[in-house]
Subunit: 357 residues, 2 copies
DNA sequence: ATTCTTAGCGAAAACGTTTTCGTGTTGACA
DNA sequence: TGTCAACACGAAAACGTTTTCGCTAAGAAT
């Protein structure tokens, strides 16, 4: 087992100073061609690579981005990560991933852990518990420490930073309008409790589209599902709830669901009740994941372009990180270069499949 | 914006030496109670936290694990990550994620990048291209540098390291035997090309189960699908291929598929052909993902326990890392403590759902 | 009064870099 | 021969820690 070789070892071996080795390897013209050749050859032979940690310490930057998300086993979040990783790698950064598991405490712990030098900036999506508590001090604290944050999807006005969001409102509007155009009169909404902002926005979009179409919203056609319990493992609860909903409202001719799971479950339940999709009921879901694509019938969805969100978030963060460098060079104080944060909105797109006409 | 405070600043502020501050904060009894109190109070006030990078450099260990996987938008891999992250966090480690995107070159680049001090060890699953090329020098090189590797799922005998694998062979055997017990006579196999080891093992399990049940394997009932092309975006190709397969083999009464996608697609195609599941055809898939759970009918699968794999892999790696520390303390050379690598096999489990009787 | 402990603290090295600033040697030029 | 620039290299600081070792002063022991 040969440990990685260091500058010091090369220097000793070749009987020169550490500085000389360093300079030679960076092709400084301070060093004679002879020595440079010799050193580079030796370095190549022993496969020398500078130690990242030492560089990080010296440069006071790690070239690493911290990603903090509520859950990784989730199609949307993993596509976002893919987007981040793509851009990050292309621009010379690594990504380190932390999972909050929707927990406020784990979110804080993870942030503090990473904020102590391990990363240059964060890309994150807020956990449900944090949204419930409405306690955002840890975000502001890290920003105050000079560590920039880019939030995506689940964002919040109380924190001043770059944001990349899905146009949840308009996505919902588009979806519901499509159902209206397809002739639906009694469009049901399957949504979550309101504290997750995206759910609220989608609900608002639903209402807006109805109003704009001259249809009066019927509160009976809105089913709010408590997602504080682990729905994935209580599918039966979800199914019976939706079944009851359908039975007490037999006039429903369309369903707009704020996520994929609700949508496919609604389809499943509908068919069990003898309803045909899309003939009796048309369905559109939010989030274009693997379920939608492979469901039978395949599900028309509002695609959020997760990968694009990740890419934009990564670009925003890295832009800001490198702008900071430039500012340092130009002796600009933080006050002069006033923080004008960007809120980037990613347009949604309706992917038409078999669950609508 | 206040940058994070350092030992040096505390020392200057309180007019003591850096050493004193460091010792006081670690409650060394070299320092008087008075001074300790004063320093700790000050540190708390300014929210002092030691700089991770500096610690990493000093201790020559980063307390981070590098994960290298072919693809993140994939239910199995994300559950593995979740398992790794769970254990890693619990044992005081962070995880940094790299994606090879099934590319040999990206795999190498990522490894070299992280191996230069950024991480203490790797947990990885080999990319398809690497498996095709059968070039594993980069794995052996990093191991030789003293960086331990734990491989999972897609492993290879040519590299000497800890491994965590699914019992692909027995999983397939169990699945096919179940189909036989359910009365199926003509069990089809939907598999991939052989170079991905897991596909090969599952195929072998299929053959073994048939033989053991006294059924002669019919080559016509085996469909090898070329997964070098991006199947997800060429679903139609997959569907027609399977449709043809069904039509030329109308005697098929069961399907065993080596992954989830093939299985649900087979179900979809079967139903389009007017076949009923599970009455006309029973289906079992490998990999228990989100598709299986929510398909209609829901799919009976061989669960791989991805999270458990991740947990075991993380434990193996961290155990080895910390064993190294202990060895150092005991002045044991690498030769004495001979590397006896562990190959851990995670048993599969059949999750019965609606696609079988 | 002298020596010995011991408590309490600081100096310095080390981890692996990069970079600034010297410094000695050479050759050219006056 | 003396001066000067250019060349080639080394010493040292800095990034933020931890830890070993040494030092001083005070009190105890002789």
């Amino acid at each position: 087992m040969k440990r990685k070789i260091t500058l010091k070892q090369i220097a000793r071996e070749l009987d020169v100073s550490i500085s000389t080795v360093s300079k030679a390897l960076s092709n400084s013209k301070e060093i004679s061609e002879d020595t440079t050749q010799k050193i580079q050859a030796f370095a190549k032979l022993y496969n020398y690579r500078p130690n990242n940690i030492a560089l990080s310490l010296k440069n006071r930057k790690t070239k690493t981005i911290g990603i903090l998300i509520p859950e990784i086993v989730h199609h949307f979040f993993s596509t976002v990560i893919r987007g981040i990783e793509l851009i990050a790698n292309r621009r010379g950064y690594n990504v380190i991933v932390g999972l909050s598991n929707e927990s406020f405490t784990k979110e804080i712990i993870n942030m503090e852990l990473l904020a102590n030098g391990s990363i240059d900036g964060f890309i994150l999506s807020i956990s449900k518990e944090t949204l419930l508590k409405q306690d955002y001090h840890h975000f502001n604290a890290t920003i105050n420490q000079g560590i920039p944050i880019v939030m995506f999807d689940r964002v919040v006005n109380e924190v001043d930073c770059d944001k990349v969001i899905v146009d949840d409102f308009n996505g919902a509007v588009k979806a519901v309008k499509k159902l209206v155009e397809n002739g639906c009169k009694n469009i049901a909404l399957l949504t979550t409790m309101d504290y997750v902002s995206v759910g609220r926005l989608r609900t608002q979009g639903y209402l807006e589209a109805l109003e704009h179409s001259g249809i009066e919203a019927d509160p009976n056609l809105i089913l709010k599902i408590d997602d504080s319990l682990d729905v994935e493992n209580h599918l039966d609860v979800l199914e019976t709830e939706i079944a009851q909903f359908f039975q007490t409202n037999p006039n429903i001719d369309a369903v707009f669901a704020v996520n994929e799971l609700y949508a496919v479950t609604a389809m499943k339940v509908a068919r069990k009740l003898g309803l045909s999709i899309p003939n009796d009921i048309q369905v559109i879901g939010f989030t274009d994941g693997v379920l939608s694509k492979h469901a039978t019938p395949s599900l028309t969805t509002v695609s959020q372009h997760g990968q694009k969100i990740g890419e934009q978030a990564a670009n925003l963060l890295i832009d800001r990180l490198e702008a900071e460098d430039a500012e340092m060079d130009q002796y600009l104080s933080n006050n002069e270069r006033k923080s004008d944060y960007i809120k980037m909105v990613i347009e949604t797109e309706i992917i038409e499949r078999e669950s609508t006409k």
